[in-house]
Symmetry: C2
Subunit: 160 residues, 2 copies
């Protein structure tokens, strides 16, 4: 196993663990994992004729119907992007604009039936890809990763 090897950080801390090195290990792992997932997830999205952003947006709408401002925050982009993003998804019949009954300024983005089917298709396809590639890992490791990764995602989600 080579996971704890020093990956070329300047200075060479091979002998003793300097405080802070573990932070870099975890951060580096998260960055590398993020890149590989983005590559595979992007390929799945492209297969379905969607951009990565469109796929992300659809998945964000699976469990809620956020306002455009909330959606911008969820996606980490400016609210001005959301207008065009939803325009394009609406034009393809995957999303619809629902007026908010309590505040007439607000629009909420909601999946259409076809949008919901698309999300399901994306999720299953991505799960297949992950299963195929991660079959080499022990089942116990896969379970641990699912548990720890979810905890890390929650930690990263918290403010600030």
């Amino acid at each position: 196993m080579v996971e704890s090897v020093n990956h070329g950080l300047p200075g060479g801390y091979d002998q003793g663990m300097r405080p802070g090195t573990e932070d870099h290990d975890l951060a580096r792992t998260l960055a590398v994992l993020h890149r590989q997932v983005a590559l595979r997830y992007g390929a799945v999205a492209r297969e379905a004729g969607l951009t990565l952003q469109q796929a992300e947006t659809l998945c964000r709408l699976e469990r809620s119907t956020p306002s455009f401002g909330e959606l911008a925050r969820l996606l980490g982009c400016d609210k001005t992007n959301v207008t065009g993003l939803i325009d394009r998804l609406e034009r393809r019949g995957l999303v619809r604009r629902d007026p908010d009954p309590a505040d007439r300024r607000v629009s909420r983005a909601a999946l259409t039936d076809e949008g919901r089917a698309t999300v399901r298709r994306l999720s299953e396809r991505f799960a297949d890809v992950v299963a195929e590639h991660c079959a080499t890992l022990p089942a116990s490791d896969r379970r641990s990763l699912a548990r720890l990764g979810a905890a890390a995602a929650r930690a990263l989600e918290e403010a600030p």
Copy 2:
């Protein structure tokens, strides 16, 4: 701990684990984690006046000087994008084009000193963000996640 809860998959497999459910758990975790990392990593890149793609590109050049075609494969995009991407980074003094002595068709992308300093700054800033948010996780969990995440990244990298 709520890690093993069924997160709203249609059908409700609360009673017995159906074969394949674990695949979905891992895939869902990887997708969620990927989104949160992209949000934090994107914020760090933006702080430095870079797009996420530019930051990714710089990091890819930390340990090698790939040809433009190889870089396109690493980034998961078409080779035609690499020209402009390197153009913009070159204009900012972060990257330079090195001719390949063995094949005069090939250009290799290499970090300048300033580019290398930028990568170091991005890495440290991102490590700080990760450390800050993940401080709530037990140290043993952080170590396990670094190990398992790296293994998963390698598994996802393999063809196909």
